[in-house]
């Protein structure tokens, strides 16, 4: 099994390498560069040239890619041109804020999704299932900014329970983020629950119609014991991968929710970076998010291998 995990690790590193190449080249291809965006109207050919010289923008692309990659491996993400600060410093607190958001949503969302998914699976095609399944379609496919806007209207504007937008700076202690964070967490949780519960439901139905559950029923195993001891563990296994994918997807799209709530997270910074043509900043954030995505998938795959004896010998394709 360790060779299998080793193979999977090498694959992850290869993927990460390709991602770094795509991200670097993609950002390099953006029209204009930081020098023009930074100087704006006041740009003269001389000031542009000196700024490009200062930030090493004149070196050939492959040279800059290798320099950047070398820095990333050592944990140095380079310097933001628009903010004149190291990228790592800019990301620091905002990354923490995004993690707070994502973690809270995951801690509430995953258990909730499992419970609702199991209920829906057990009551297949009866009203609890129809209700849960239909609402989950909406939670899953309505864009985050629509859900967020509706929540803001009812809970911030009409009821005035929570602030509509965040007005605290990015470096406040976590506790001070609290009232600001409730609506973004609810938005994220709704999307996440919808994704995960649909899979739990499908797995639950698959397992419940399997031979060994029929066998357990025939043997006279009590209903709840059948559900919790026989069905649930088997239905949970494929869920691990979906949880990882969903978390990664949320991180990829969290920028929109952060923008709606003006929440000082990494996604909002990413969008500013693109508008400002701040190459180093965008590349840094992209690579961090890609590392998280790949790591989450890796963890999920390894976990499933450990938990599922069948996968230990199966060859990955």
């Amino acid at each position: 099994m360790s060779t299998l995990i080793g193979r999977r690790l090498i694959l992850a590193v290869v993927t990460l390498f390709i991602v770094s190449l795509i991200v670097f080249m993609g950002v390099e291809a953006l029209p204009g560069d930081t020098a023009t965006a930074y100087l704006g109207q006041s740009a003269t050919p001389e000031s542009l040239a000196s700024l490009r010289e200062e930030f090493g923008l004149n070196a050939p692309v492959h040279q800059r890619y290798l320099d950047w990659l070398g820095g990333v491996v050592k944990g140095d993400l380079g310097e933001s041109m628009s903010k004149r600060k190291p990228v790592a410093d800019l990301i620091g607190n905002r990354f923490r804020n995004t993690l707070v958001l994502a973690t809270a949503a995951a801690l509430i969302g995953i258990p909730l999704a499992i419970v609702l998914g199991v209920i829906a699976g057990l009551t297949r095609d009866k009203w609890p299932d129809v209700f849960v399944s239909t609402t989950s379609i909406m939670g899953m496919t309505l864009p985050g900014f629509v859900t967020a806007t509706i929540l803001i209207y009812f809970f911030a504007i009409r009821l005035e329970w929570f602030p509509a937008i965040t007005l605290v700076p990015s470096d406040v202690p976590v506790l001070e983020l609290l009232p600001n964070i409730v609506l973004p967490i609810i938005t994220l949780t709704l999307i996440m629950v919808a994704h995960i519960l649909r899979l739990v439901r499908t797995n639950m139905i698959d397992v419940l119609t399997s031979d060994y559950i029929q066998m357990a029923k025939l043997k006279g195993v009590p209903y709840w014991s059948m559900v919790f001891k026989h069905a649930l563990p088997n239905a949970m296994l494929p869920t691990i991968n979906v949880v990882a994918l969903t978390l990664a997807w949320l991180l990829g799209g969290v920028a929109i929710i952060e923008t709606v709530f003006n929440y000082p997270g990494i996604g909002q910074l990413m969008i500013t970076g693109i508008t400002d043509r701040d190459f180093a900043l965008v590349q840094g954030i992209a690579i961090i998010l890609a590392v998280i995505y790949i790591a989450l998938n890796l963890i999920a795959d390894v976990l499933s291998m450990i938990l599922n004896p069948k996968l230990r010998t199966a060859r990955g394709h």
């Binding site: 694959l11 290869v14 993927t15 990460l16 390709i18 991602v19 795509i22 991200v23 993609g26 950002v27 291809a29 953006l30 029209p31 239909t134 379609i137 909406m138 899953m140 496919t141 309505l142 864009p143 985050g144 900014f145 629509v146 806007t149 509706i150 803001i152 209207y153 504007i157 994704h195 649909r198 899979l199 499908t202 979906v242 994918l245 969903t246 990664a248 997807w249 991180l251 990829g252 799209g253 920028a255 929109i256 923008t259 709606v260 996604g267 990413m270 969008i271 693109i274 965008v282 954030i285 992209a286 998010l289 890609a290 995505y293 790949i294 394709h317």
Partner: protein, 299 residues
């Protein structure tokens, strides 16, 4: 003689029910599927005809009628430039619908064919391209779209190609996985043994079998594409103002949501009914074809 004719008749009566008719029959029995289909059709009709019947000029600003609440004249009220929100909401899906509908066809076509080919080859090229696909999918989806759109520009045909290309990457995986189920089947093996060309095997043997999966994937992908397109538009990377567009309207009118909530509700209702319609239809469509809607997370 008589028996031969009879059996011939029986075969024809059995054959007369084409797979299409059967799918339609199944679909018709699902109220959710029919509701979804109706919503989609109504949206396409509104998009096609709205310029001819909207009650007000969607571009007409009016300093005297800013942020007005709904009235007989302005069904959804006005925005902060005094423009009629109802008319703008009716027109706000035109670009979105045209771009995503063409893009989804492109995505199914190139992603589907490449995926089938990769599943058939299952060799070095397959390994290489799948690594690239994995890498593309590891990049945060919003960032990927933002970079491509920023590089390529926001002209309509460019956006169509961009979305067709980006969302086709998802289809590659689906088509490849579906193909792998068939490459070891007898009909593909015998076609290979007959020495058929790869193109013939893809078009004649594999495509007909993978078609249903691709159609269901396409209808689901459409709703993810709408989510992506309107999100970009919300962030200001979409349709250029003053052309009415749901995503951008929601972004701008949010500023006056406390005094004129209908300026936001209008486009929200339009966008939500379309997306819900597509999903109700996709679900029922998958069931009607005897497929379970696959569960992979998008992009």
């Amino acid at each position: 003689m008589t028996t031969a004719t009879q059996s011939a008749e029986i075969t024809t009566t059995v054959k007369r029910r084409s797979p299409l008719a059967e799918t339609w029959d199944n679909l018709r029995r699902s109220w959710a599927g029919m509701l979804g289909l109706t919503l989609i059709v109504v949206h396409i009709l509104i998009a096609a005809t709205s310029p001819y019947w909207v009650p007000q000029d969607p571009y007409q600003m009016s300093a005297d009628n800013r942020n007005e609440l709904p009235s007989a004249e302005h069904i959804f009220g006005t925005d902060k430039l005094g423009r009629d929100v109802f008319s703008r909401s009716m027109l706000g899906g035109r670009v979105t619908l045209v771009v995503t509908l063409i893009a989804i066809a492109i995505a199914i076509l190139w992603g589907g064919l490449l995926g089938i080919l990769l599943g058939l080859l299952n060799g070095r090229a397959d390994e290489l391209i799948m690594r690239l696909v994995d890498a593309m999918l590891s990049i945060p989806w919003l960032l990927l779209l933002l970079i491509i759109i920023s590089v390529m520009g926001t002209e309509m045909w460019v956006q169509t190609l961009t979305f067709g290309f980006t969302y086709g990457i998802l289809t590659i995986r689906v088509a490849r996985a579906a193909t792998l189920d068939f490459v070891t089947s007898e009909f593909v093996l015998s076609a290979r043994a007959r020495g058929e060309r790869k193109r013939t095997i893809v078009m004649k043997e594999l495509l007909p079998n993978v078609r249903d999966v691709l159609l269901v994937d396409g209808s689901m992908n459409w709703s993810w594409m709408l989510l992506g397109f309107t999100s970009l538009s919300f962030l200001g990377f979409g349709v250029a103002p003053p052309t009415p567009d749901w995503g951008f309207m929601i972004a701008k009118n949010r500023e006056i949501m406390a005094i004129q909530p209908w300026s936001v509700f209008g486009p929200v209702i339009m966008l939500s009914t379309l997306i819900i319609g597509i999903n109700l239809f996709s679900d029922a469509f998958a069931k009607a074809l005897g497929l379970d809607r696959s569960q992979g997370a998008p992009v």
